[in-house]
Amino acid sequence: MSLKKYLFKRIITMFIVLMVTLLITIALVGSNMDSILKQGVSIQVRTEITDNPTIAKSFSSVTEFDFFIQTQIAQRIKIMGLDEPWYSPQRIGLSMYKILFLDFGHATFLTSDSGSSDVKEIILEKLPRTILLFTTATIIVSVIGIFLGTLAGSKIGSKTDRVTSSFAIISSSFPVWWIGMLMIFLFSFTYQIFPARATPLIPFTDPNYIGSLLYHMTLPLITIVMIGFGSWAYLVRNFIVDIVQEDFIFAKKTIGINQKKIIYKHALKNAAPPIITVLALSLSGSLGGAIITEAVFDWPGMGRLYFEAITVMDLPVIIGATYILTVFFLISIFVADLLYGYFDPRVRTEQ
């Protein structure tokens, strides 16, 4: 199969996944969304009428007035297309088309820090913070992991290897959010070094905001790194161990090239494709995992936004956030696959 055809097929699959995700999300929240929107319309109509007393005065009886309100509401609902059920093809088609081009509408309850209720703006405000925290964490984790993993993998059975491997297995058994609670207990309660809530208290326009954000970021960052680097190191160690057992490394050893050079130059180079793939995957995976971690530390990013949206059932935000998360997830799977193919020519020929 040619690369073009392969790419084409992957992009089609990705698109289908995106559509399926959207469809499922809309199907799950659609009926709730309708009733909320309809309520919104009737509230809007009523407030408009109460704001304008001349309309009320022009009616002679209460029933006539009520009838006027009802027809007004019905009209609005019709204009918005809400008279058809949410599962009618036009409505699903329309909302999917809108969402596809990032038009998520307005949030019902939540607002951004700057006060806007436009879902796109809310997401654009939260997303960079999540990326800041989790991307930084992933990069630190991978650097430590690669270094430690290579060290462990080059001396199988050594003390370093055994400590790294057992730390990896044990640390990955603890939920990150639980370690987060412990860290808050240790560093906010016992030793009051870091704040328990990661949301900066100063307003977002303050020039010190960035500094404060970074300070509040320290505790979650340490937690994620602490829990994450073990399994990274273990993964890299296993890749290295696999490669060290290959013939060409033995050949190099017999020639007499020194061990360090073999490991860092040849073995690590050959382990690069899977490592880069895992890096690409975990960069996006971290966004999904952010939901619980951000809830623990109260970090004002996408994860907490998602959680808040779920608790108050703010459907446009839920749909928007799910869409963005899925897009990120898909892109990174795609990139990971491409990178793997690029670094490891065997994959290409096998396809």
């Binding site: 603890f174 959010w177 799910t322």
Partner: protein
């Protein structure tokens, strides 16, 4: 891939120390679950969210054993419901006396005390509460005539330490103390040394007497609660619940969730993957594309939406976890099935005209079984942590005290920022230990099944 018999697996397994450790931990957990099921009545966990049940327990109290490490002992919360009963008559007067003894060996005053009783009487007997202190002083706390009734009937009452009558009675006896009793709570006076206001250690006896004319008068239920800040082996939470009950009940729940999800998703994945791999061509292509779609769905956001919109019942959640669990297994089962189907015995069976279903079930699946065991063991921790995570976000089934649920409550009440470590540490440790047991077993099995990993 080589096929391994069950016997060989057991033999290899018994040589592996980590595997054995996993088995031992798992056995302890299973044993705990069985004990819990036998000894803690099932109604207890149904009562988990019923505040009525926990009313006589203390709020956020530390585990009792913490006193072993402290120089100044924290008073234990004591629920005394086994009084020394003595009924007698003097002339026409019938006297019912209930005595509660308490060894008070702590360095802080109790937080309160409550006497709770049900009595059956007629007319209006007199109720009197006195306390005998270790230094021999007797304090009169309470004496009141009970509500008058003409018929012989039941009466429930709780006498609290904050009762005005107790305080007034204590002020009347202020000559026994060398310090001012003003603004001191009644427990701070009763348990105090006479010289200075410090706890007096020793044996206290609370004496409850009911004087009446009717011989049939009785106290049918009698309970003395000395409020403290330490309770049970695990302490209690903000809602006064005994955390030991929650942690213990979490064990069978976690094992149930983990095992059911892992078992069902591995079986589903195996069947799906093996069939797709065996059939090949268009069927394979189609089935694997569907698999790809599911694989690419972000699991956690979807689980969250599902639990919010459909149901957060624990049984439905198990089903949701399965939907996302089988996908990875199917991928691997397919590639293994691809290797097996070109082997002689499968081709022979095919040539003899056996049905596809039979070939997959009889010839391909048995070859995958060792791998299946390993992946069941490895998928258990993921299922448990995912469920715990969802519960932690408050999206789990609130009627069951799972470990995630307990941690959710802890987070809601700000346990970590308030330093309530006994509320946070045990559930997390339990999650990790359970996960580790399965990881140990799974890794050992994997090494046996796939000898290339052995090094």
């Amino acid at each position: 891939m080589t096929s391994i018999t069950l016997k060989e697996i057991i033999k290899e397994f018994s040589k592996n120390r980590i595997g054995i450790a996993g088995i031992i931990i798992l056995s302890i957990l299973i044993f705990t679950s069985i004990m819990v099921a036998i000894f803690i009545p099932i109604d207890t966990f149904k009562e988990w969210n019923n505040p009525e049940k926990w009313i006589s327990y203390p709020k956020v109290s530390v585990p009792v054993w913490i006193n072993l490490f402290l120089n100044e002992k924290i008073p234990e919360h004591k629920i005394l419901d086994n009084p020394n009963i003595n009924n007698y008559r003097i002339n026409d007067l019938s006297i019912i006396s209930h005595r509660f003894g308490i060894d008070f060996e702590y360095d802080f005053f109790p937080s309160d005390f409550i006497y709770e009783f049900t009595s059956k009487y007629s007319e209006s007997p007199l109720l009197e509460i006195n306390v005998m202190r270790p230094d021999g002083i007797q304090l009169k706390l309470y004496s009141t005539s009970m509500p008058i009734t003409n018929s012989y009937s039941n009466h429930n009452e709780r006498v609290f330490s904050t009762d005005e009558l107790i305080r007034k009675n204590l002020y009347l006896q202020s000559n026994k103390f060398e310090f001012s009793l003003i603004n001191l709570s009644s427990q701070d006076i009763i348990f105090s040394k006479t010289g200075i206001n410090e706890p007096l250690k020793g044996k206290y006896i609370f004496l409850i007497k009911m004087y009446g004319n009717n011989e049939a008068n009785q106290i049918t239920y009698s309970k003395m609660i000395i409020g403290g800040k330490a309770f049970g082996i695990m302490g209690t939470d903000e809602l006064r619940r005994d955390l030991a009950v929650g942690i213990l009940y979490g064990t069978p729940l976690a094992l149930f969730i983990g095992l059911v999800v892992a078992l069902a998703s591995v079986i589903m994945g195996l069947l799906y993957g093996a069939y797709a791999g065996y059939k090949g061509k268009k069927t394979d292509e189609g089935m694997m594309r569907f698999n790809d779609v599911l694989y690419a769905l972000p699991a956690l956001p979807f689980l969250i939406i599902l639990s919010v919109t459909i149901s957060n019942s624990i049984f439905v959640m198990v089903g949701f976890l399965m939907i996302f669990g089988w996908v990875g297994v199917a991928k691997i089962a397919r590639s293994m099935s691809l290797q097996i189907k070109i082997k002689g015995f499968v081709e022979a069976a095919n040539m003899m005209g056996q049905k596809d279903r039979k070939i997959v079930l009889r010839h391909i699946l048995p070859q995958l079984l060792p791998y299946a065991f390993a992946s069941i063991a490895i998928s258990v921790p993921a299922a448990i942590t995912t469920e715990a995570g969802l519960s932690f976000l408050g999206l789990g089934d609130p009627s069951f005290p799972t470990w995630g649920q307990i941690l959710h409550d802890a987070n809601v009440y700000g346990a970590s920022a308030r330093g309530l470590w006994w509320w946070i540490i045990p559930p997390g440790i339990m999650i990790a230990i359970t996960g580790l047991a399965f990881v140990f077993i799974g890794n050992t099995l994997e090494v046996i099944v796939n000898p290339k990993l052995k090094r």
